[in-house]
């Protein structure tokens, strides 16, 4: 379903990776800090553009060397960033509703908050939440937009052991319940093994 060939020159090295993922798969990009993992996610999300290559999602071409890139806001890619990037001036409820397109936002938001066990936080601002609660809110927000693909950038790095265990359960639940590809970035091998259907090791922009 996702077919990406990402080529980009960075100051220290060149990223040149191929990623393919089908519905329901969890692809883990595993590598040390600074190996180009996050840039790969940014390229798939449309926040930065490759120098060449292609990004195809189903029948849509998000990027191709010979055409104008598909803008990030039209890609329908859910992206949970490393520090969650929750909007600090919005409550959990308003964060989750932000990407919803249709009517009945309030009910849908509450249902999602319920699903992630954070309904009691609906009126809380991000600075009032723990790391695990922020992570759940960020995933709920990404899923609220009903994405075709979910990107998770080090989603567990800021969590303690208990929250990390709960978060892994959340990710495996999403994999089971939603029929979309998930690409997760991590530098923790144990985490990678727990959730991945395929693990791509990346070092200085190359798959090894």
């Amino acid at each position: 379903m996702l077919d990406a060939h990402l080529v980009k020159n960075l100051p220290d090295f060149k990223i040149d990776v191929n990623i393919k993922s089908a519905k329901g798969e969890v692809i883990v990009l595993f590598g040390s800090s600074g190996s180009g993992k996050t840039t790969c996610l940014d390229m798939i999300a449309g926040l930065v553009h490759p120098d060449s290559g292609h990004i195809r999602m189903g029948e849509n071409t998000y990027f191709s060397s010979n055409q104008k890139p598909f803008p990030a806001e039209k890609r329908n890619v859910g992206y949970v960033m490393q520090d969650y990037a929750l909007f600090p001036h919005m409550t959990a409820d308003r964060n989750v509703q932000y990407g919803m397109k249709s009517v009945g936002k309030s009910e849908k938001s509450l249902a999602l908050l319920d699903q992630f066990g954070i309904r009691h936080l609906r009126n809380a601002y991000p600075h009032e939440m723990s790391g695990g609660e922020k992570q759940r809110t960020a995933i709920a927000r990404a899923l609220a937009a009903e994405p075709n693909l979910l990107l998770l950038d080090e989603p567990l790095s800021a969590l303690d052991d208990k929250a990390r265990h709960d978060a892994l359960t959340v990710i495996t639940d999403i994999q089971r319940d939603l029929d979309i590809p998930i690409i997760m970035v991590t530098h923790n091998w144990t985490e990678a093994e727990k959730v991945a259907t395929s693990i791509y090791k990346i070092e200085k922009g190359r798959l090894i």
């Binding site: 960033m81 909007f87 001036h89 932000y98 009691h120 936080l121 009126n123 601002y125 009032e128």
Partner: protein
């Protein structure tokens, strides 16, 4: 004191309010457009924007006189085609206040937009938000404290503008006599009572504006930056 006309108060507020509205929108728009873009000549353009901050107001006034004088290109064109006379009119005072106050708004807005975390805007884009929606719902609310500070500074600077205004609008009682003008010319003719009256009025206006800004900031910003005493916004 009984024969004091309140014309200068009304004119000052009118001039400052119009200049503030113009400066707020142009300053905010330009600061946003320039905040994260790099292009050749950006530094030179920004230096030009900030120039009125370092120039004596009389120099700014002289420049405006050269631009808008009745026999000058722009002034003549405005007079011939729009029947607008800028020199020796309250419009001249508005233009002088606008130019002198612009750098304060631009600087405040520029700093405010640069402080907004780019990741938040990126996250909003991935959630399907257009550029306009990202600006309206993310950048603007998060930059608002800085924009508001710029707005207040602009209003205060426009209210107190004297040098450039004197050069382009002159002192015509009933037409271009703003409060700073009224103070200066009252002192010049030795009418210290009138001068004192207008000094008290302008100090009170400036002081209440700053007080309002502090009150507003405390009331609105604490909501999403400071944890509530004895708990949070969580449900039980």
């Amino acid at each position: 004191m009984g024969d004091i006309s309140y014309g200068p108060l009304i004119l000052s507020i009118k001039v400052a309010a119009i200049a503030t509205i113009i400066v707020f929108f142009t300053g905010t728009f330009l600061a946003r457009a320039f905040a994260r873009k790099q292009f050749p000549g950006k530094t030179i353009i920004e230096a030009f924007f900030l120039l009125p901050l370092v120039l004596p107001p009389t120099v700014v006034g002289f420049g405006l006189l050269i631009l808008f004088g009745k026999d000058q290109f722009l002034g003549k064109w405005l007079y011939d085609y729009a029947h607008l006379q800028i020199v020796f009119s309250w419009l001249g005072a508005v233009i002088a206040s606008t130019v002198v106050a612009f750098p304060l708004m631009y600087q405040s807005a520029s700093a405010a937009f640069k402080q907004v975390d780019g990741k938040l805007e990126a996250a909003a884009h991935t959630l399907g938000a257009s550029k306009w929606r990202v600006f309206r719902t993310i950048a603007l609310p998060l930059a608002w404290p800085g924009l508001l500070a710029g707005l207040v500074l602009t209003f205060a600077r426009a209210l107190g503008e004297f040098g450039a205004t004197l050069m382009i609008a002159g002192y015509i009682p009933g037409r271009t006599d703003t409060i700073p003008m009224a103070i200066y010319f009252a002192v010049e003719v030795g009418d210290m009572n009138t001068a004192t009256f207008w000094v008290i009025i302008i100090v009170a206006l400036g002081f209440s504006t700053i007080l309002w800004l502090s009150w507003w900031s405390n009331r609105n910003l604490r909501r999403f930056t400071v944890k509530r005493k004895g708990g949070t916004n969580r449900d039980a």
